[in-house]
């Protein structure tokens, strides 16, 4: 579904250049759930932007469903790290934005939007404006917005970062369900190893500055999975430990900005 070959991305600013990603090779199969983990600033968001067609690659080639990525596609939904809600639209209308843009019947989808909002625990807040919500609530609205279009590919950038443990777990389960029902391809950036192990078929570990693929860990635990009580506790523990170790590795690249670590 998604194919990156030798993709690099460098940012050039007035105060020097930053090599955000270098030589990324990655193939995500249709229906696969891939988690991306890595230290802050290692290029995870940049990677998603490249795949979404929001940012051109400096080098390399990216294809989605066989077509080279030149601009955003409607069958890819992107969930940004920041909620990016339209401040003048109510919660419900924010969720319905993709519906309007895709030119679908708004009336038909209002119910579904409502259901999604209930699912994330925002029933009763449909008419509020975004600034009346807490940080975590805004993030959940943005999650609903990315789900409503039933996209074939979902790129999710730390969708649960502002949520409490419980809500997080509930939504992880929901996301898993959505994934299994719609068999969407999902690339999911997270800082939680538990989350990665719970959700992903494979976990991509990025090493920082420049962002390169350090390792890809396969998670072979059968679905549906759940945190805590499950039959594969051992395997979960092993994967978590692996990932933890990979992330802890102090591969010291000579790039700028790492002295302080």
């Amino acid at each position: 579904m998604i194919q990156l070959s030798a993709v690099s991305r460098t940012f050039t600013g007035r105060s020097g250049t930053v090599e955000a990603l270098r030589g990324i090779d990655l193939t995500v199969a249709e229906g696969e759930f891939v988690a991306v983990v890595g230290r802050s600033g290692c290029g995870k968001s940049t990677l998603l932007r490249l795949v979404a067609g929001l940012l051109p690659a400096t080098e390399g080639k990216i294809t989605v469903a066989g077509e080279p990525v030149t601009k955003a596609r409607r069958d890819i939904a992107m969930l940004f790290q920041r909620p990016a809600l339209l401040p003048w639209r109510s919660v419900l209308d924010n969720v319905l934005l993709p519906v309007e843009i895709y030119g679908w019947g708004k009336a038909k989808h209002r119910d579904r939007a409502q259901q999604l909002l209930e699912m994330v625990g925002l029933g009763g807040f449909e008419k509020r404006l975004p600034h009346e919500l807490s940080g975590g609530m805004q993030q959940r609205v943005s999650l609903c917005r990315s789900l409503i279009g039933e996209p074939r590919v979902m790129l999710m950038d730390e969708p649960f970062s502002a949520l409490d443990t419980l809500t997080r777990e509930e939504l992880s389960v929901e996301l898993q369900r959505v994934h299994m029902e719609s068999s969407a391809t999902i690339v999911f950036v997270t800082h939680s190893i538990d989350e990665a192990v719970l959700l992903a078929d494979r976990v991509v570990v990025l090493s920082p500055r420049p962002g390169r693929i350090r390792e890809i860990v396969e998670i072979d635990i059968p679905r549906p999975r759940s945190l805590g009580r499950n039959a594969h506790l051992e395997e979960v523990a092993r994967c978590s430990a692996d990932l933890h170790e990979l992330l802890m590795e102090r591969d010291a690249p000579a790039a700028t900005g790492t002295k302080g670590r």
Binding site: L54, R73, R74, L86, E100, I101, L129
Partner: protein
């Protein structure tokens, strides 16, 4: 509403109910502008009637203007109505046209680079100099006057529209791109609403200019209205009546300006709530 509270330092909740507060607020909304007008009136009275700093032939004292207003009230009211109508119609037309031009400039950087200098040029021409051109091209009456209104007030609208549309917050623009929105959709759903606060600034600047446009238009091509009254009465040395007309123009503008302000309040409640006034 909540953010407005949030934006002010915490104070113990007022013992008065919201009704009392609203009344006090209403008083301030009407009372303070009136106070301002009174201050201006007193300053005027002091410089003309008391100290004779300025000769009454140049700036007649308030008493004279009031008398002139009484003497010519019928004529002045009719003229005010005519001018206000021209101002309003011209302003609405300019708003539509200005927003469309702004949109075109915002849509294409080629268009913008080609025509922005021309718009500046048109805007910088003293409109008085265009009088003959308008009259000859459009004859006398409403058409040249409305055109004059447009010429005077289109630029702030165009500029603020174009600026607003081309400075969409990056994250919202990125969102609309990620949804694969067409240009038109991105414009309608994201860029235009995000630009509205900016556009309203343009409209507020344009509003008094529209009134000037109507008056200058009447100078050149009018057969009535306050501009006509000014020419006629100041031409025969009746400065008091001319100044009564000038004050009526100012008053009309103030009212129309507050109407725009009101429209802004109604259209953009979220702006007050996501920004901090003081």
């Amino acid at each position: 509403m909540t953010e407005t509270v949030a934006a002010s330092a915490p104070v113990p909740a007022s013992p008065d109910g919201p009704a009392a507060r609203r009344r006090a607020d209403g008083l301030a909304t009407v009372g303070l502008p009136l106070a301002g007008l009174v201050v201006a009136g007193v300053a005027w009275w002091l410089t003309t009637s008391v100290s004779h700093l300025i000769h009454p032939a140049v700036l007649p004292p308030p008493g004279d203007v009031l008398a002139a207003f009484r003497a010519q009230s019928g004529l002045l009211m009719k003229a005010t109505l005519a001018t206000a109508l021209e101002t309003l119609v011209g302003f609405l037309l300019s708003t539509v046209a200005g927003v469309l031009i702004g949109l075109a400039l915002a849509a294409s950087s080629v268009l913008e680079r080609m025509f922005a200098p021309l718009l500046v040029a048109v805007n910088a021409v003293p409109k008085i100099a265009l009088g003959p051109l308008l009259v000859v091209a459009l004859d006398w009456g409403q058409k040249p006057i409305l055109t004059m209104v447009f010429l005077l007030c289109f630029f702030p609208i165009v500029l603020s529209t174009a600026t607003g549309l081309t400075t969409t917050p990056a994250d919202l623009a990125e969102l609309s791109r990620s949804l694969g929105a067409t240009r038109w959709q991105a414009f309608r759903k994201v860029r235009l609403p995000a630009a509205l606060p900016q556009i309203f600034v343009g409209l507020k600047v344009a509003m008094p200019l529209a009134a000037i446009g109507a008056v200058i238009g009447e100078f050149e091509a009018g057969e009535g209205g306050l501009g006509f009254v000014i020419v006629q009465f100041s031409g025969v040395g009746d400065t008091a009546t001319a100044w009564a007309a000038i004050l009526l123009i100012a008053l009309t503008s103030i009212l129309l300006y507050f109407a725009v302000l009101r429209a802004e309040r109604l259209a953009l409640p979220w702006v007050r709530e996501t920004t901090s006034a003081r």
